[in-house]
Amino acid sequence: MEEVAAIGWAQTVHERRMERETPMSMAYRVVNEALSSCGLTIQDIEVLIDAGSDFLDGRGISTCITVDAMGGHFKEESKVAGDGLLAAAYAYMRVASGLSSTALVVAYGKSSESDASLQTATMCEPFFTRPLGFDGAAAAALQARSYMRRYGVGPETTAGVAAKNLAAGAANPNAQVRGEASVEEVMTSPVLASPIRELEAAPVTDGACAVVLARGDVARSVGVRPAWISGVGHCSDAYSIGTRERHRAVAAAGASRSALRMAGISRPHDQLDFLEVSEFYSYQELMLYEATGLCGEGEGADLFSSGDTSPGGRPAVNVSGGALCANPLVATGLVRLAEAAARVTDRAEYEPGAKGDRALVHGGGGLAMQTATCMVVER
């Protein structure tokens, strides 16, 4: 198996609505910026793996039209449906196989063009579940209730997670939501789907991200510090919310277990310097602490209260502000990789809040975290 590193990356400044951008223009921009960040041109790229959502784009096989904007003309190209970090996992396989020396990963989402509730409702089983009006927020609310009740987690704790990430995002120039909020403000914001408050949910975002992966020999020769990918894993949980262990992020646990084992990490809390996770709702970050092995089951709230996961703590979680500060669906997981890669290589474009040599990144998908991808990135 070949060594693989992320050598270049770029993301848009994420916004609620990009009136003047199309998926093509967003993708074109991040591809060019990612390539120039590592001194490559599109001719140096052998494989293009992109992530997109037909439902979000409002057209079938939307790569028909985005493929040339992403640089895929006359290239080996494939599209992964779902989160951009899963596309990165596939690109990793292409390079690790030894059959390609470089791969470009592109993910974009323009959620402003549709309705978030209807969008997530289309993920539901069409005959029995969808007619109930079930959607992403409703699924998350059921999961939040199960988790919070089982482990006695109070609303002040989940609100605290939101306040932590909103404060961290204020320093991130790419973040969409850049206003701090106190725990009280979070707790008194309108109810989205009980027990989840509006300030505890990721925003609707337009944005894109691109990452260049390279084989070890190429990564060492380009003249920029590479972020080595030492572990990778992806996993999925049961479909029906009713048959899941709702108090447990099963997919994230499976994905992180694979990635951590591959990276030789047995004590994540001690061996990871920071994490970037896709917490679409604040309670999910607590569940992800447990799933990634930072603490035991039901101990997420205690870990949060200890301050270890706050900026300045170790392992800090989501010093970028996480998904709560910018959620360009499809690209959200890939943004986590870009954020972590920038920090472990000291190539962050702003004062990064947390640095370190080793990080775990997580991308999620499906209703209530049904799917997950994880990677370990190292200096």
């Binding site: 198996m1 293009l48 959502s53 037909d54 439902f55 409002g58 057209r59 079938g60 096989i61 790569t63 028909c64 039209i65 493929v67 040339d68 895929g72 003309h73 006359f74 290239k75 080996e76 190209e77 494939s78 599209k79 992964v80 449906a81 779902g82 899963l86 996992a89 596939y90 990793y92 396989m93 292409r94 690790a96 196989s97 030894g98 059959l99 969008q119 289309t122 993920m123 089983e125 069409p126 005959f127 990778v232 894993g233 992806h234 996993c235 999925s236 949980d237 049961a238 479909y239 029906s240 099963v250 499976g254 994905a255 694979s258 998908g365 499906g366 209703l367 049904q370 799917t371």
Partner: protein
Amino acid sequence: MTRPAAIVGTGQTVHVSRREDVNIPEMVREAAGRALEEAGLAWKDIDAVVAGSAPEIFEGVNNPENWIGPAVGASGKPVMRIHTGGTAGASATIAGYYHVVSGLFDVVLVVAYEKLSDGVAQYGLSACYDPLWDRDFACGAPGLAGLQATQYLARHAPEVREEHGAMVAVKNRKNALLNPCAQLRKEITVEEVMASAPVASPLKLLDCCPTSDGAAALVIAEGRRARKMVRKPAWFAGVGACSESPYVPHVDMAYPESCVRAAQQAYQAAWVYQPYRELDVAEVYEAFSFQELIWTEALGLCRPGEGARLVESGATALDGEFPVNPSGGVLSANPIGASAMIRQIEAAMQVMGSAGEHQVPGVRKALAHSWGGAIQFSTVTVFADEI
């Protein structure tokens, strides 16, 4: 040195115009179960699942892999869905191949499906056109394929005529009589094709594929495991894929460059220099009859314009010198998201010697081809009986 990988089991549903007895996950499970049975595996033996399907808009379920995955034993396991339009089924197999050759997984189940009776296929395909510029005059797939056939005929007339398209349809529908999974199993004549109702000139109804409900599945294993599982695995000898922009003014649909390049990549890996001589059989994605002529040319099986001569001479018939689409091809069944994988399955079956009544004798190397998008995505896979 990249480690070898092979197909060790395949499965298909019997493709029909409408399955009322199953939903999508149930239909996929049916095909997956058959593939596992052939490989002698249980659900628990699978390390990861890759799914392929064409536009979700066909069936109206977003992220259908999340629905299907648990139905094929993937709850708690890695699931990835590949979505490249018509090529999706083949692109998913290629992703499964990379799951294995990367060293991350040893045994991977790849599934693909389409349940076109759940929607209206041509509405779904028209939704592929750009919403602002193209969709007002979008006319599904036949409109595009009609332009392609016109471009092809204009270039090669008068030697190539509309009857040559009809000959492809007649040949493939005859082959389908021997394929228990084919949907259209009734012999037709050139006269019947020529007299059938116009769809998108020069395409007539019998030049066109049906819409189908169907699923396909295959199991890929790394070399050592593959040898233990089955007597005769179908080895991945060469894998090629290429995409191109649909908005290039000089795009050549009668000799698509993406197909030429994908074939070159696969042949190079498979050490194939003279494809017509060195390969034994091909399964190509002819959703419309003329496409088989175009693909045989772009795949280098003959020179441009000579595809018509191949079909007219009987060379591409089941008992010909170089059988093309012994399964009956896409013209005999088209569950879109699965069709590209069915080409790979049929090619692999020829190598494994498991094609039954439509088995071509003595196959050592077989080619599978597919196209997708606005005739802009191409995949080529070469399977061999040894590696």
